[in-house]
Amino acid sequence: MVGGFSILLWVGAILCWIAYGIEYSNDPSSSLDNVYLGAVLALVVVLTGIFAYYQEAKSTNIMASFSKMIPQQALVIRDAEKKTIPSEQLVVGDIVEIKGGDQIPADIRLLSSQGCKVDNSSLTGESEPQSRSCDFTHDNPLETKNIGFYSTTCLEGTATGMVINTGDRTVIGQIASLASGVGNEKTPIAIEIEHFVHIVAGVAVSLGIIFFIIAVSMKYPVLYSIIFLIGIIVANVPEGLLATVTVTLSLTAKRMAKKNCLVKNLEAVETLGSTSIICSDKTGTLTQNRMTVAHLWFDNQIFMADTSEDHSNQIFDQSSGTWASLSKILTLCNRAEFKPGQESLPIMKKTVVGDASETALLKFSEVILGNVMEIRKRNRKVAEIPFNSTNKFQLSIHETDDPNDRRFLMVMKGAPERILEKCSTIMINGQEQPLDESTAKAFHTAYMELGGLGERVLGFCHLYLPADEFPETYSFDIDTMNFPTSSLCFVGLLSMIDPPRSTVPDAVTKCRSAGIKVIMVTGDHPITAKAIARSVGIISANSETVEDIAKRLNIAVEQVNKWDAKAAVVTGMELKDMSPEQLDELLANHSEIVFARTSPQQKLIIVEGCQRLGAVVAVTGDGVNDSPALKKADIGIAMGIAGSDAAKNAADMVLLDDNFASIVTGVEEGRLIFDNLKKTIAYTLTKNIAELCPFLIYIIVGLPLPIGTITILFIDLGTDIIPSVALAYEKAESDIMNRKPRHKKKDRLVNKPLALYSYLHIGLMQSLGAFVVYFTVYTQAGFRPSTLIGLRLEWEKDDVNDLEDSYGQEWTRYQRQYLEWTGYTAFFVAIMVQQIADLIIRKTRRNSIFQQGLFRNKVIWVGIASQIIIALILSYGLGSITALNFTMLRAQYWFVAVPYAILIWVYDEMRKLFIRLYPGGWWDKNMYY
């Protein structure tokens, strides 16, 4: 993970070993510091890698638990015997039998079929069951009726077929391999990290070379200068950052998993935040994925039904007699039933046996009328004609529950125009009235209106069969239809829709204010798609499509200037005829786009179009055939519930609740993490200067080395780790969802002001503060700064055991060494103290600390405590272990750097104050990172 980063660390490690090699060839007794440093660098890379792998593997495991991996079995006829074998053992030419509920084990050509229906949704996105027969109906294998596809499900009926393709050669297999063929794009965060590595490497190499030249011109031996060069480069490597970034990302991934976004690839955490276009599915993602009664029309009036997730408040007028009749038809003319054994569940959660519309009607009537099953029992069914596509109606005949009424009640529902044809009267306010022109017209208006909302409309009618003609003993024959099916009484219309999830409109609004374009891509009919788009706000209330404008101005569609329309509804057919340029134009010029009737393959084209515009595209998908698009997208989001395994594999993220709104919370987290990573990096970079300066001063001024390599490692990988991770818990400074998505090229993770401010402002202040502590320690021990200058050579000579200090005292080598370690410890403590200030100032980039609240992020304080405790342990606990180069520091030295810490904080408060006072001004532009 974070490729560029680990390379930086590897290079650092190798350079360290090279430096040791050079030193060793000069002087076999040279210190092993460089070897340790190299080893630690390598270790950091390896451990971080393992951690990241573990994190990602964990999400993969969660995913695996979703798809219950039952080994697939196939019923095959071999050697005239029926055998059950694992489906991967099938070969071309095998004859297999399938029945309702089976998954088709390979691509098969049907040899015989009894009412076989398959669900091809994972392949084509079409959710309607499709009937299969042995007849060849189309040249295109995807269209013809006599082929069943691997991994699709047989819903009902039975069939026998011959295997024609297995494994990767199946249609699904080909799509899956297509998906693996789509190149994996670099994630935005990877690009940012790479950019950051470039900056760090640039600074390191240029500093290194400058000081190499200085060292050479100061008459240092070239070999030494090379070691200096390497030392400077390595000192610039932020050892702890790789670990910090990884931990930060996985913390966010965890947080997102809690909000139902399971991130498979850590880097994808941030990608979601920089998303500028979301291509979303409709069914299941934006909608609830269940048909629901939306409108009713009776008594010449349209009533609205509650379509929210729980249907709790149905507010339409239920006092009319017409409603009584209509509700009776609803309950009786319906074959759907609740599965037994779920009495405790709320009605909307109960599972129903039956098709989508009947389920909708059943639940609707259950909510309003109560126990439907009981009502049905009281109105015993005597005959029934189920719905079929030629009749387009469904009919049933019942006894009534009124013991005084001996008549049979015939109820019927179906396509409204077919129902109306059969009617001669209409019920208004509970009274039958003759169906005349005006009522027929009213019916048509209502029908058109409901149809225009993209809803599926059903008509309902009934007839009380006269008791004299149809006595109780009358035997109804469905085949001969020995009962009247015309001159019925029309009762009303009812329309259904798959309603949007209640959280979606809000989420779409949030996306809009966050500058994210939401594009709906669906296989549904354009009218339905548009209606849903309008109801969730993907097409906002006041924007029009070309068709709307044409209608309003009463001109032909062709005459409308198509750029006047903000919104566009594009069908798959239109998309097919478009050139890439036209598609780009379309995507760029309409802010609200709905793609309807698209095949899943076209999703890939849409995604590519968006990416050509430079957008960061998030795509949702569930079917196998979505996987190329998921892979191609900057972030592919698979549905956790409805999604196929292939889609989940191709995706970077899995939406556990299939809810669009979860994406938006994911975006929020992604943006927050980007901001917080900025803070983390700024925090980490700052002390780099404080660690580097001593070395530079050491080379140029010849002071005894102020801080050693091992000590630096203890800062980078010890005291600073927890605080920099703590910044990941920082709350957003302002509403991040009111910002535009960041520009890939302009809003960099590490930009010029960040680098300059960290290196040249705070970093330098830190170094100065640390140097004051260093000089305090040396001066109080007897070496005044004036003596120290140029003392390095003598200082480091092992055979000089009577080096004079400023007071004329003489020091042995080991005494000097010990003093040097005390200096390291003091420098270390000084950096640590000032890093506390740095941590506090990095909490915000613009707001004052007091606006942000000093104590809102508790983890920061844990970080600060950890810093202090680690430092105390190092100095007082491990101060006697000479290998670590720490000594027990006098208590007062811990406080010398405190004024500088306060200075840093005050300076940064001033910076933020000016930024807030003059937004957009010179200061803001140069000092805001």
Binding site: K740, K744, K746, L760, G782, P785, N801, E804, T812, Y928
Partner: protein, 346 residues
């Protein structure tokens, strides 16, 4: 020429110009990447450029010619960015801005420097020029020997003066400061056996006790200018590291004693110490620091190895002995002791 240039550049233009049109400063703002705006911008870019192109081109042409053929997009962009940096025709202030930045940085660093100066100044206010604040790091006292020849292995061949001549030179040089005449002129002859305590203000100059070269007798180099090296009886001088305010405890002078460190005790059959007491007299303590105790002369003990096994490396350890003297610090081999080897060949 100009036409040519333009046509050759044409395809790269939209890109380069886009960079320029975007206000450089906005780079860090959180503003929108709106596709529509960008598309518009691109369109504008295609139309507008040639107005300012003329003036820009004048400047660019020269640079470009120096550059030869622009090798590609990136070179071209870099050139343009560079150019912008020096002089941005749209803003007409780029260089001025750079100047402003420099001024601001100058003031920032100047004030930092001032802060640091004040801090260091206050630090020095709290520090005495005569007495170090803490002396625990320099204690216990270290020990060093002369001649000092970057190595503690004394390897020489008696019959080859070249192998020991540098020891003699080193010793002679070292003892120049101990010449009797010099000592008599500069220092006072103070009573032995007691501390030479000089009360009075810290900043008063302190007198120093004489330590004459002649105290070293046979190892003074006065009688034997080769310090015994020519006869295989080398003299080695031992001195204790100076520590301000150090006084041997309880009026008990610190003694020196040498013996074979490892191996046969009899490898060294006799050592003569000069002064004969083999100790550092109390009158040389305390030391008042080099600012006031200018002529302080470190007392010495000379070890004259008169009978050492020849043609064999003999490790010798010389230790300080006395109350409160520490000579067994594990990490530091020069605290209260010194170890060297004698390898005298004949």
């Amino acid at each position: 020429m100009r036409q040519q240039l333009r046509s050759r550049r044409a395809p790269t233009f939209p890109h380069g110009y886009r960079y320029r049109l975007d206000d450089q400063d906005e780079v860090n703002q959180n503003y929108l990447a709106d596709e529509e705006e960008e598309a518009e911008e691109e369109a504008r870019v295609m139309r507008v450029p040639n107005l300012e192109e003329e003036e820009k081109e004048e400047e660019q042409k020269e640079e470009e010619e120096g550059q030869g053929q622009p090798t590609g997009n990136t070179w071209w962009q870099k050139l343009q960015l560079m150019n912008e940096y020096l002089w941005d025709p749209e803003q007409r202030m780029s260089l001025a801005r750079t100047g402003l930045i420099l001024v601001i940085y100058f003031f920032f660093y100047a004030s930092l420097a001032a802060v640091i100066t004040v801090c260091m100044y206050t630090l020095f206010l709290t520090i005495s020029a005569y007495m170090p604040t803490f002396t625990e790091r320099v204690k216990p006292a270290g020990v060093m020997i002369r001649p000092f020849a970057h190595s503690l292995n004394f390897n020489f061949n008696v019959s080859e003066p070249d192998t020991w001549q540098h020891y003699v030179i080193s010793l002679n040089g070292f003892l120049q400061g101990y010449n009797d005449s010099l000592q008599e002129e500069m220092n006072v002859d103070c009573p032995p056996g007691q501390y030479f305590i000089q009360d009075g203000n810290e900043d008063e100059d302190k007198k120093a006790c004489q330590f004459k070269r002649s105290f070293l007798k046979n190892c003074s180099g006065l009688e034997d200018p080769t310090f015994g090296y020519s006869t295989g009886q080398p003299c080695i001088l031992l001195k204790m590291n100076r520590i301000v305010g150090f006084r041997p405890e309880l009026g008990d002078p610190v003694k020196v004693s040498c013996k074979v460190q490892r191996g046969d005790e009899n490898d060294i059959r006799s050592i003569h110490y000069y002064p004969e007491s083999a100790s550092f007299d109390l009158r040389y303590y305390p030391y008042y620091g080099k600012l006031t105790h200018v002529n302080y002369t470190s007392p010495l003990v000379a070890m004259h190895f008169t009978d050492v096994v020849k043609n064999q490396a003999v490790p010798v350890q010389c230790q300080l002995k006395g109350k409160g003297i520490i000579n067994d610090v594990i990490n530091d081999h020069f605290v209260g002791r010194v170890i060297f080897t004698l390898n005298i060949e004949t």
